[in-house]
Every structure is written in structure tokens, then in C-alpha cells.
């Protein structure tokens, strides 16, 4: 008998997209789930652009508002991993310690989410 080493879970990162959670919150309504995904697909570019502009212009108030809105959308979508990065950015705005890496991590998390949602759409 061959023993296969099993890696213990060391990464407790939240899920990229929790479809079952969204479906449950939508009362099992698949049509609503798909409608929400469509709304996110159409609104996501504008929400991210607001974040980028707030950062580029050094406008902390705009960046705070944009990251808060994006965080809310991601939480309501069930995209906890990207929402966490948006939360970090929002908190940093309140504390006056925003760094470029926070924006980069949020951007990367959104791209990861895009890939996951693209797979979701293909299924």
C-alpha cells in the first residue's frame, strides 16, 4: 500500500467566490443568482476605476468611499477574499496609512475573482 503525504491546511484564506452561500442567501433562486452576477460584471469596472482614481489623485475621501462600496458589493456577492482586501484598504484610508501594495493586492484579488466567475459562467 502506498502512502501519500497529505498536506495539512496552512492557508485559511477565505473563498474566492462562495456560490452556495450566495444561492442560499438568494433563497435558492438561480435566476436571481445569475442576475446578481450580471450586475456585478457590469458594475465592477466602474467601481475599480473609482478606487484607482482615488488612489492616483491622492484623494483619501474618494478612495475611502470607493473601497467601502466595493467591499460591500464583494461581500454581498459572496467574494470574501477580495472583500477582505477591500476592507484592508478601507481601514487604511481611515487610519491614513494607504500603501500601493494594498491596491495591488486588491487588484490581484479582483482578477482572481474574474477568473473564478468566468469559469462559473462557462459551467
Amino acid at each position: 500500500m502506498t502512502m501519500t503525504a497529505m498536506a495539512l491546511p496552512t492557508d485559511f484564506a477565505p473563498p474566492i467566490f462562495n456560490r452556495s452561500d450566495l444561492l442560499e442567501r438568494a433563497g435558492g433562486d438561480l435566476e436571481l443568482l445569475n442576475a446578481v452576477l450580471e450586475v456585478f460584471a457590469s458594475e465592477r469596472p466602474g467601481m475599480w476605476r473609482d478606487v484607482e482614481l482615488g488612489f492616483a489623485e491622492g484623494d483619501v475621501s474618494r478612495l475611502l468611499s470607493a473601497s467601502h462600496k466595493l467591499k460591500g458589493a464583494l461581500l454581498n456577492l459572496g467574494a470574501a477574499r477580495a472583500a477582505e482586501q477591500a476592507r484592508v484598504l478601507e481601514a487604511a484610508c481611515r487610519e491614513g496609512r494607504v500603501t500601493p501594495s494594498m491596491l495591488q493586492r486588491l487588484g490581484a484579488a479582483l482578477e482572481e475573482l474574474d477568473d473564478e466567475l468566468a469559469q462559473e459562467t462557462r459551467q
Partner: protein, 166 residues
């Protein structure tokens, strides 16, 4: 001023598009829904509804919004209702919606601004429907009960702090 009979109206005040679309989809089977993206737009919609003697039965009001936030909008809406002579029984049921990390603002809005209830996002259909049921909005009251309520309703806020998620 009493509310006329007709389809129940709902105003969804939410600047975040996913929460707004979820709320709208869940409420549209029950209400004639309007939407506002910030507190100023909400006040305009409420003002028009009051002038048309067709106030909103339900207002879902996000707390953190640009321009005029939900807490200030709540105060203004209650003032507008009082100026319009709306009886306590016919005031809009105002459900404040908020993220999990903003409980302090919820309590402030709830007790000082006369919100009816509050919901913690992310939006969940079962919890929303439970809230509507507890507010008596899923099944309309019998006409004679509604008439008595209009005459004798207390002026205190319809506080219902049990819906807060710790």
C-alpha cells in the same frame, strides 16, 4: 393624513449595486419598488410620495452613503412625515441596512432617528422576509384592525432591537 389603499410601495436607498439588486429582486414580488442612490435622492422621492398622498410603506435605507448618509436622511424623512401630518400608524417602516462592521452607527440611527428595524448585510432573503413578517408587511392587516390602529397608534418609535446580529 392617512395612507390610501393600493399596492404597497417600497423605496430602496442603496448606493452599492449588488445589495440594491438583491433587495429589489426580493422585494419586487411584494412591493412597487423605487430606488435612490443617496440620501438626497431618497428625500426627493419621499417628498414626492408625500405630496401625492402615497407614502412609502417600506424604506430600506443604507447608512453609509455618499452626500447625505442614511442616518441624516432618516431624521429628515421623519420630519417630513410629521410636517405632512402622517399618523404614526402610517409612517413608513424604515429598515436601516448596514455592514457587519458598523454596529455603532446602527444603534445611533435606531434609537435617535426612529428607524423601525435594521438588517445587517450581506442581504439574505430569509432574514429579510422574517423582518417583513414581523413588521406585518407580508400579510395586510384586516381593514377593521387597520382602522383602529390609525386611531390609537402610539407615537413612540416602533423599536425592535432584536434583529441585530451581534
Amino acid at each position: 393624513m392617512s395612507a390610501p389603499a393600493g399596492p404597497m410601495k417600497c423605496l430602496i436607498v442603496e448606493d452599492e449595486p449588488i445589495a440594491g439588486s438583491l433587495l429589489r429582486a426580493m422585494l419586487e414580488p411584494l412591493f412597487q419598488c423605487d430606488a435612490a442612490l443617496d440620501g438626497h435622492a431618497a428625500l426627493r422621492a419621499v417628498g414626492e410620495a408625500l405630496r401625492a398622498r402615497s407614502p412609502y410603506t417600506l424604506i430600506c435605507l443604507d447608512i453609509m452613503m455618499p452626500n447625505l448618509d442614511g442616518e441624516k436622511a432618516l431624521e429628515q424623512i421623519r420630519k417630513m412625515e410629521a410636517e405632512a401630518g402622517l399618523s404614526a400608524a402610517n409612517e413608513s417602516r424604515i429598515v436601516m441596512t448596514t455592514g457587519v462592521n458598523e454596529p455603532k452607527t446602527v444603534f445611533s440611527a435606531f434609537f435617535q432617528g426612529r428607524a423601525t428595524a435594521y438588517l445587517v448585510k450581506p442581504i439574505e432573503r430569509a432574514i429579510l422576509m422574517g423582518e417583513l413578517k414581523s413588521l406585518g408587511l407580508l400579510e395586510p392587516p384586516a381593514p377593521e384592525v387597520a382602522a383602529v390602529a390609525t386611531e390609537t397608534a402610539p407615537t413612540e418609535p416602533l423599536a425592535k432591537p432584536g434583529s441585530m446580529t451581534p
